[in-house]
Amino acid sequence: MSEPAEPGLSISESASLERGYRRLLAWYPKWFRLRNTEEVLAVLMACAQDDQTRPSLEAAVDLLKGAARMRLRPMPGQPRTVFAAVWLMIAGAAAELGVMVTLLATQSGIKADLIARYPAYAHAIGHAVNVQVTLDVVAGPIVIAVWLWLAWASSRGKQRGRVAFAVFFGLTSLSVLYSLSQGSLVYAPAAMSAGLGIWAIAAAAIMLIFNKASSPYFQRREPALA
């Protein structure tokens, strides 16, 4: 089958079209780009119309759909257990973000509610809520960054990422146990439920990355990327 050599395109048209395609291909996961970018570009350029300077809407939608599909698949050689664990860790980061935003949005309501219940401690309650919110605003982004780093390290099969996740899970479990022992389920049921939900996500992720099917992926010497 002969492949036409990009007919009818001047050098500048061809360069502009190729730039457009490269921008679309940038949405694909890294492993796919390393493996396929030059080849897909060759096919796209061979399929180009005369005088075409920009990707067509149809081709752009098709490439973006392909990029989404590729991101929803494990990378070559990655067990499904690891892939699922990585998405759980991203869900963990999203849940932490949700909790932080909810807390910031409802802090004045929480403060007013507590003061209405215990008017004698208004000053102390105001101070305590402010301290708690400040702590959460500082700690929240750090915890979200840790979740995302753990997801990145696990997706690439880094053994230290798996060990770090075990430590992180241990700390999360201790913090949940401490909150339960302090009666959080009674005086802050919403926050405690969110904490238990996030702990459950971490528990599922740790079972997946320490699953028998995942272990060989973390024990290789070569980096995960194909």
Binding site: F32, E38, A42, G66
Partner: protein, 107 residues
């Protein structure tokens, strides 16, 4: 099996082909009805590679562009043969019930 997947495997059944070759061949096989776009083609090729139904035959550089040839694996041949037999038996049953023969004329 999706139609695009079936047609891609069929295009590779007679020998190794590169991406553009597969697109042209699929258009021929389907009488111009199925025009594969690059995003769809490479999504399918990656899935078929991961499932072990196709493999890379060889790579060439032509006009400074990479050209990678894909071929069916023995598993791919088996899957395609099974799917073709399944479709053939369904089509035969449909034509028989409509009192049409496979040549397309009325019996």
């Amino acid at each position: 099996m999706q139609e695009a997947t079936f047609l891609i495997l069929t295009a590779l059944a007679s020998g190794a082909q590169h991406g553009y070759g597969i697109i042209s061949d699929v258009a021929d096989i389907s009488g111009g009805r199925v025009k594969l776009l690059a995003g769809t083609l490479y999504t399918a090729l990656e899935r078929l590679r991961a499932d072990g139904l196709i493999g890379v035959d060889r790579e060439e550089i032509v006009d400074n562009r990479l050209r990678r040839y894909y071929r069916l694996t023995p598993d791919g041949e088996k899957r395609l043969a099974a799917e073709a037999a399944r479709l053939h038996s369904h089509a035969t049953a449909a034509l028989r019930r409509l009192n049409l023969d496979l040549a397309g004329g009325a019996a």
